[in-house]
Amino acid sequence: MPQLGKLALAIALILAVYSIVANIYGTRRNAPDFVVSARHAIWAMCAMVTIAVVVLWISLLHSDFSLEYVAAYSSTTLPTVYKFTSLWGGQQGSLLFWTWLLSIFTSIAAFQNRRRNPEIAPYALAVLAGVAIFFLLMLNFVTRPFDLLATVPAEGSDLNPLLQNYWMAIHPPSLYTGYVSATVPFAFGAAALITGKLDDGWIRSTRRWAIFSWFFLTLGNMFGARWAYEVLGWGGYWAWDPVENAAFMPWLVMTAYLHSVMIQERKDMLKVWNLSLIGLAFGLTLFGTFITRSGVISSVHSFTQSGLGPYFLSFLITVTLAYTALLIFRSKQLRSPAEFESYLSREAAFLFNNLMLVGIAFAVFWGTIFPVLSEAVRGVKITVGPPFFNRVNGPLALGLVFLMGIGPLIAWRRTTTSNLVRSFAAPVAIGVATGIVAALGGIRQWYVLTAFSLAAFVIGTVLVEFRRGMNARRHMVSEPRAKALVNLVAKNNRRYGGYIIHIGTIVAFVGIVGSSFFRTEVKKSVHAGESFTIGSYTLRFQGLEQTDTPHLESATALVEVLRPDGREITVMSPAKLFFKRPQQPATKVAIRSTPFSDLYVVLAGIDDSGQTATFEVFLTPLVFWLWAGGLMMVLGTVVVMWPNVRERAAIATALSRQSTDARELADAAPGGD
């Protein structure tokens, strides 16, 4: 069986190389059969990688410890779901999973473009296959998932206990999907540079891919934060770990890209900037992989050091240099007749929004690599942790939120002062009122007051936009309010879906600010029957329950939560887990979440008699709204991506125009290539 996996990966590598040769030869020699053959090779490559994945999955499910990978990341007692997720629990398996996603996305892109984008699609597919070749080379020659052990152990070493959590089935696949799918718009951007077809065709063709990637990066970051919140037991959800940063940076850059492409689509400007942003987003996904697998920067997420670092760094440098060279080579063609009339315009707001997003991405990047710089320059190891990132990004986040409020309400080209006053009067009033009410409510921190005021201002601008659109519809087609609202969103899904995403972002921002500034913490050791208080809650320790399974032992504390009047609200069950292989303790947190605050109970210790337990309890306000905001962002993205007949017609027109242009060009050309 493992031999089949090995063989499949070797054939996949050959097919990927062939697809590049056939695509480029077929396009340059005007031999469509080769282009078709290249497409088939891509699909066959995907089939081969799928076979390798299935082989590894079967080996994991059957606990085939003759495979080094299975022996290292699974065991006979590991629950089936985690045997399944072990595919991406270790170095080789996760690279295979990455390659599998890439081959699937490349196959989908090949299918989508079988009759469109005849000039750039073959080159884009060649770039995608080029990236696949790098990963397949790693899997075939450097970090092989199908290596066999000389002596087969009776039992495997098991999956890291921290990864034995249901989020393991959700978070890595989401994040990987976001990372890998960013390769598609990057490949089309690179193909546009290679072919010189530099209009917005490549953006229109890959818009859904870019949103898809952004969507999964959002999910990946949110799920990662939730996983950390539920598992790590420190009451927080974001620790600015280098690998968290590596997932956050591409999200920031993709967000900037999704805004700035609107300017190119609308005004044919910012071609260099958009190509740079998509190149940067892809580069950052590689950077994230490099960080996780190189051991250059220490992180709780790192895989065991494998010597992959230099390969990833070389690939990252090669891609960056090649892409930059292409940008320079095409710089004259990328110049466009830019029109910019006023700073009081939507394009100006988008430019500043891009500045802030890329500025935050740079601050995160800088903080992430600064320990390496410090060691290289001074020979001194330092740590750049949460205090740095919070202090640097805090003010930038306020600027970004302010711009989120400005953008939607000002017009393209220019806005008159009277329009500005009319549009912003209500949102500014809401923002100011919010600040005053918050101050009267007892909030004194300037950052929180500013953040809440700005958040209310942004929500105000979005509400005004919805109201304006709804009234326009009611006026034009005499619809009742609710129907007008639904039709408004349905017929302008990109725009209003975007506003829903804005609301979600702001709601999440409020959750982040509230939970960061107002957390209360109590640590208590109590005997069974004793109680202690936090906020308005009284917690009574009832006793411990012990369980023992072949896989783990656990001690669960039963904690009764009471209101001030003594009525029971619920019984919470934080636990300590002791995994048997590898022998490692872990914490199971108990969380009671309400829109006001989360009660977060950690069983920090138990004495030998089992009668005294130490609890660490956090009361964190508004953290609920972080997850609620994430859900709204998901909903907004679904609205944005919902198939829109008008948009399809626009793409079809753009594509038919491209084909016409291509035909005219071919007719005008004196000969073939």
Binding site: D241, A338, F340, K381, K523
Partner: protein, 172 residues
């Protein structure tokens, strides 16, 4: 005018209601934060990085058997009891473990670059953007002085046609 007032007043009502909902909880917790048990321990241990490999601060490392953060938090408690300040305790650990134990770079020497570079980059980026915008502003296409507006162009500019088509599609 009346409609505007209704809108503004309903929005203000919405905000007030929202904060009537949130603020008692926030202000309650806000006061609690300062009354929390051992707040100084958290303040000190937030400034120190755990060296067990978890990547978290000493305050946040929750490994039950951590050989670094668990004894360090106890030691911090003891030093607070002895009346030492946050700065003194952090200086003590810095001397013992080196700069890597601090959870953020210091604000001296080379480390100043860590703090200032993001803002320098932002200012440079903003400056570059303003310059670019200024150039676009000054290079705006204007009608040539010798052109005759009464004479229509012989052929419709394909670029203009493309833009027009795009705008029409978007409005359709």
């Amino acid at each position: 005018m009346r409609a505007k007032l209704t809108l503004a007043s309903s929005l203000v009502f919405f905000v007030v209601a929202l904060f009537a909902f949130f603020s008692p909880e926030l202000s309650n917790v806000s006061r609690e934060t300062f009354a929390a048990e051992n707040p100084t321990n958290s303040q000190v241990s937030e400034g120190l990085t755990c060296q067990c490999g978890c990547g978290l601060t000493v305050a946040n490392c929750n490994m039950p058997t951590c050989g670094f953060s668990v004894p360090m938090r106890r030691e911090i408690d003891r030093m607070i009891g002895e009346g030492k300040t946050r700065a003194q305790i952090i200086a003590f650990y810095r001397q013992q473990y080196g700069e890597k134990v601090l959870s953020a770079p210091t604000t001296e020497g080379f480390n100043l670059l860590a703090w200032t570079m993001p803002f320098i980059a932002l200012v440079l980026g903003g400056g570059a953007m303003v310059l670019a915008v200024g150039r676009w502003h000054s290079h705006q296409p204007s009608a040539p002085s010798d052109s005759n507006p009464a004479t229509p162009p012989a052929t419709f500019d394909p670029e203009l046609r493309r833009k027009l088509e795009k705008e029409l599609e978007e409005r359709r």
